[in-house]
């Protein structure tokens, strides 16, 4: 996540570190951006911004270079504005990530259930999109990316109902992107994350229970966790928060999106119980063609998810774009290769599963590792979630219907940890920025000990997801019940919950 903090503590730390370097630098390279900002503030404590047209030509040039390279314009004393290129990429990215849910995930999951439940998956994805959009506008965005609580655990109230969220940039997160575009981009992450959970509970969770659960889950898990990892005052925001107690890194959501949903999925499917007839009658996917189309849409959409998480069309985005491709291709090669070796036939579902696993595992790492790291991650993504889905699940006999835990929970955890091992500061200058120096991230990378902070971040994520999901699941069970009747489950949720059928003859 591209951001810079405005907190006093971080400002002072950055000023001190830069004063020692004797630096009121005119360097405007993109990757030096966070360091340059406080430096300018130190030189001119209360500068009055000047208009671009009134600035000398050399300052104008410096400003324009900063705009082009996603650099910091603070030394020029000209206020940043939304720039065409960065804004265009972020609008495309936001649309791509929405496409991951509608229709990507809906088709991916929809094809994997029996035909009598296909609409229940589509309704889940569509319903969550509408519900979370309203929550995000009302309070969610502010609770994640606000700052007036000055808390490591939750944002603030200043942007409730999108107050102040205009087409001008929010410079705490991006100099050159409209804040409303940033807010919608982040909304699409908040949409897909809870939607992932309900692959594990497919074919046997009442729609009303699902909706109620999501409302609670956003407040108890997503909003706090997203702030902790990406918020300007966040507990685990190693790259951008100089005061981060746990200087961990998560580029596009290994902890926030995949671990949170995957571990919640495991707990919820355990509390919910198995599908009627699970293990006794066949429950094969009703259309792997739909699953394939969904997978392909997820892969393409994921470029918005990963490269878009640079919140600029810059060099970090270019690296994320590359690593995402490599890890996904290698994951999608490895999984069916294992099937070929151990089961005799490489399956289409194996290609799809390997691709999604590759995308999941590279997510936290994509902006921080190089292409070699991405290939290693692809191999791990093909092997470890494969073991989780085919061996571990059969040993413990839990009914993770569509393997949300096996792919997202396990894959997300592998990604969070391996990012700490394969991190390469050469691909992302922000890893050596002033906040990273102040909170110890840069030192941890140099000492090859970042994996410790990554493990702490993973542990906090698992604890938050497991405890919150347990409380919520039993609360919903008590108030409205989780499961449909056995008869309704036999008939299929499409008819009993939605009054329609996906396919009629």
């Amino acid at each position: 996540m591209m951001k810079k903090t405005t907190s006093v503590i971080r400002l002072l730390a950055a000023i001190a570190s830069l004063a020692m370097l004797g630096a009121v630098t005119s360097t405007l390279h993109a990757e030096d951006a966070p360091a340059a900002a406080p430096a300018a503030a130190a030189a001119t404590p209360a500068p009055t911004p000047i208009a671009f047209t009134n600035a000398p030509a050399s300052v104008q040039t410096a400003y324009l270079l900063a705009a082009e390279t996603n650099g910091d314009p603070t030394p020029t004393n000209i206020a940043p504005v939304a720039i065409a290129g960065h804004n265009a990429w972020m609008m495309v990215s936001a649309a791509f990530v929405l496409m991951m849910t509608l229709p990507g995930l809906a088709l991916f999951y929809g094809g994997l259930v029996r035909s009598k439940n296909v609409l229940s998956i589509i309704a889940m994805c569509f319903g969550i999109t509408t519900l979370v959009s309203v929550l995000w506008w009302a309070v969610g965005y502010s609770l994640v990316f606000g700052a007036n609580f000055n808390s490591p655990f939750l944002g603030g109230t200043e942007n409730f109902f999108f107050k102040g969220v205009t087409s001008d940039p929010n410079t705490s997160y991006a100099y050159w992107v409209s804040q409303n575009v940033f807010a919608i981009f982040q909304l699409t992450f908040a949409i897909i994350t809870p939607a992932l959970i309900f692959g594990a509970t497919a074919e046997r969770l009442k729609f009303t229970a699902l909706f109620t659960f999501v409302i609670g889950w956003m407040f108890l898990v997503y909003f706090p966790l997203a702030h902790m990892v990406w918020g300007s005052t966040g507990l685990m925001n190693g790259v951008w928060n100089a005061g981060a107690k746990i200087p961990a890194i998560d580029f596009a959501g290994g902890t926030v999106v995949h671990m949170s949903s995957g571990w919640s999925a495991l707990i919820l499917c355990l509390i919910l119980g198995k599908r009627v007839g699970h293990g006794k009658e066949p429950m094969p996917p009703h259309s792997l063609v739909l699953t394939f189309i969904g997978t392909a849409l997820l892969w393409v959409g994921w470029y918005g998810f990963n490269a878009g998480s640079a919140v600029a069309a810059d060099t970090v985005a270019a690296n994320a774009f590359t690593t995402t491709t490599l890890a996904t291709a290698v994951g999608a090669f490895t999984w069916p290769l294992l099937e070929f070796i151990f089961k005799g036939k490489p399956s289409v579902l194996g290609f799809c599963s390997g691709a999604v696993a590759g995308l999941v595992v590279i997510t936290p790492a994509c902006g921080f590792v190089n292409s070699t790291g991405a290939v290693i991650i692809g191999v791990l993504a093909g092997v470890i979630p494969y073991i989780a889905c085919t061996i571990v699940k059969n040993i413990f006999k839990y009914d993770d219907a569509l393997d949300t835990f096996g792919v997202h929970g396990v894959g997300g955890t592998v990604g969070a940890l391996i990012t700490g091992v394969l991190v390469d500061p050469a691909v992302n200058g922000n890893l050596g920025g002033a906040p990273a120096v102040a909170n110890g991230l840069a030192k941890a990378i140099a000492d090859h000990s970042l994996v410790v902070a990554q493990a702490k971040a993973a542990g906090i994520t698992i604890a938050l997801a497991v405890v919150s999901t347990t409380i919520l699941a039993f609360a919903v069970k008590l108030v409205i019940g989780l499961r449909p009747s056995v008869e309704a489950e036999h008939q299929g949720l499409d008819i009993t919950d939605h009054g329609e059928e996906g396919y009629t003859n």
Partner: protein, 112 residues
Amino acid sequence: MKKIEAIIKPFKLEEVKDALSELGIEGMTVTEVKGFGRQKGHTEIYRGSEYTVDFLPKIKLEVILADSAIDGAVAAIVKTAKTGKIGDGKVFVLPVENAIRIRTDETGDKAV
């Protein structure tokens, strides 16, 4: 008058039909069916879940003929439907008491 009921592999249907047509046989009834014999089913694997599919798709072909035409037709079916591998199917010959052509009220051999 007898009835031939042949269970054959679906991809052999065209060949069998052509062979019967060459013998001058003018009609037949074909149904898509499922079942198993010695061939048994196959296994499908979806990630960690393995399912055995017991019933395999086959074609059931029914022809009613005069007694004199039966041997030639059976030989033609057996010859064309044969691959030599397990699962080629079976041919049954059953007696038929009567046949009536609805349009003309013709009965017996004239009706088939």
